[in-house]
Subunit: 444 residues, 2 copies
Amino acid sequence: MKAVGIIAEYNPFHNGHKYQIEQARRMTDADYVIVVMSGSFVQRGTPAWTDKYLRTQIALECGADMVFELPTAYATASAKDFAFGGVSLLQGLGFVDTLCFGSECGDIHALWNAAQFLADPGEAFETTIRELVGKGLSYPAARAQAYAMHAPTDDIAHPQGTNMDGTLNDMTHPQHIDMDSTPDNSSTASSLLQSPNNILGIEYLLALKQLHSKIIPVTIARKDHGYHETTAKDKYLSATGIRDYFLTQGKIPVDYLPAEAVNILQAARNHYPVTLDDFSEMLYYRLSTCSPEDMTRCADVSDALAARIHNLLPKYKTASNFIELLKTKQYTHSRISRALLHLLLHTTGEQTKLPVSYGNLLGFRGSASGLLRQVNDFPIITKKADALCQFHKLTEASAKHAISLWNTDLLADNLYRQCLLHKTGCALPDCYHAPLIIPRYPLC
Amino acid sequence: MKAVGIIAEYNPFHNGHKYQIEQARRMTDADYVIVVMSGSFVQRGTPAWTDKYLRTQIALECGADMVFELPTAYATASAKDFAFGGVSLLQGLGFVDTLCFGSECGDIHALWNAAQFLADPGEAFETTIRELVGKGLSYPAARAQAYAMHAPTDDIAHPQGTNMDGTLNDMTHPQHIDMDSTPDNSSTASSLLQSPNNILGIEYLLALKQLHSKIIPVTIARKDHGYHETTAKDKYLSATGIRDYFLTQGKIPVDYLPAEAVNILQAARNHYPVTLDDFSEMLYYRLSTCSPEDMTRCADVSDALAARIHNLLPKYKTASNFIELLKTKQYTHSRISRALLHLLLHTTGEQTKLPVSYGNLLGFRGSASGLLRQVNDFPIITKKADALCQFHKLTEASAKHAISLWNTDLLADNLYRQCLLHKTGCALPDCYHAPLIIPRYPLC
């Protein structure tokens, strides 16, 4: 029995996600598609557009076999820690053979080369970045350009072997993968690090390497032609595009979501949207009752940023407006968003230093239940009230880490639940009463 | 020059308040009426219906000469600490000769006897209260009944001397006051402690006694026939009645407020109402991020109440709904409201143990400015940015206390400001930019 892992946010789930699940299953010949999904908050530093229970239900109806929650501390962290969290959770399960992720380039070879290089880029690379930043480039742009200057371009794009679009046979450790992908523009060294999903993909590869994982990575070219694109192309529109459409039109762009997702979303109208500004009052309260010194205990909050937050707080209006106020060339919108979210949730950088130490099961198809019996030492949380008992099987350090992650998850869910209740009247169950999502009938 | 002090909330200011100012001035022959007013939050454990700047403006237009803010820690405390705060601030100013307060009985003699008795009531009194509580009476009801049983009734209501309705001449220390009041029903021992303004009045007298104050107390019968009455009588309707009217009718009951107050309120429509439920999200956040152990650091939060809050938190919907959930025979609505507010504002019981150590001036009539020059050692805060410098003239312990009170006031104002902005779009200035309210023209 083979299982392929996918790390996702489904914020919201769209045709591209369904395509990815289908392709992942086909390419890896997997019996099961295992999803690690963000919970109440996502990586751009905002609440998820709709709650994790609804998103789990949609994912299961649209082809996933099992959905675990990526603990909030990782789900809201930088690409590196997000990737490390997702990969380490899949690794912890023990039954996942392959990891499938979307990328702009769709070229595992190019991504692997980049990962190899970036694992130990050397002083010259760092110097170039500093010089370029000094010339006025943003850090990501400088890094992308430095990579084009220093990367071993000879190694890029010499594909041979299996067909990218076909079943991936005889996959071995990524060092030895040869894939017959046709590298597009975004696999060239100069553009590789300019695309967010390429960057995230490289982080997945680095995490696999760090964990000495036997999980084999596979990438497919994303169908939603751009992470932030808001205009539609064929039947694909990015999650950002879908959220924006809803915001302006007041309805879901049904052409760009699978029918199952549309049906579920339309039947649960008061489950969304949740936006950052629904947390404006809570965030203001948190910032008003926290000294700059205490702020720096949270992830991504430097001394300088804490001082900036403190100084600008009298001008606070809403969370999103405050991000705009705080933004500088040095502090990007995402960086600020995540820092504020870490302050709201009390998340620290320490929490993401270790691998994820448990799997919080959100839902699964009955046909996949056998997989759970294969797991021994890795706690799988099915009944939430038993979570702390489950952690007893861990070492003391791991148990302590697990409790810290779990408490953050509880807080994140509670705050999300309260804001949703306040906004739409939707009373989600608390974590002790939330049932596992198990589709009632066999689905395929 | 004589000055009479009034301790008030003006939540909102109504005809009864204007009558009190007029009577206080007349009875005491005072040149100035000095008001100590609650700021952003009031004693029933809720935010003030409208902001303190607007209330200051109304009070000045309706007869007050100077308005100071009662620090939040006292303004939101039990009747005893509220009274101690107000009286100690008036005492600290040094230029206040008399204190005028409303009471149901209008009988300073009866109130003074009660204060004398309650300052040292004896074991028998406490035993009776315990017995009555054991029989099912609430604590306030038991105390009222025990007082009727144990109080030295002979001393009650033997008025002679000056006319209650006339100018109060030759006022001496309260022990020697004789006033020609006609004791109504609420001055008899059996009913004295059943009326909230009598109880508060007794606390004022106890505070004067505790502070060895030379300020002379005067009481007048309240015209708004009942603290919680919501139906109108003549031109008087209680503040509760006015708020309820606004809530149900969507407009101010103009017959029961002075014309000046109506004009100001109507011109500043987005300054009100602020209600407890505007703080629902902030309060939920606070309660969700505070352990029961940490909760007990706040005033009025016992171990048992903290545990009860923690256990019922999953059922939280709104602040007012949560108070209803928490309420028991032991924990009254007011007790719970105040405890939750102390949690929100991080106020502790320690803060109200010492006398108020500064006067935060909110506004004054130009004609009263001379009074301020008489004040020496007691910091009068006129420019908010200089508050901390002002505290340098205090002893180390007093300065520390003042800083603690001041920080609570800043937090209270900031939270209030944010909730008002969120609800009505009204952007109040922060404390560093809020001007002193000085009516433009001499008013009378």
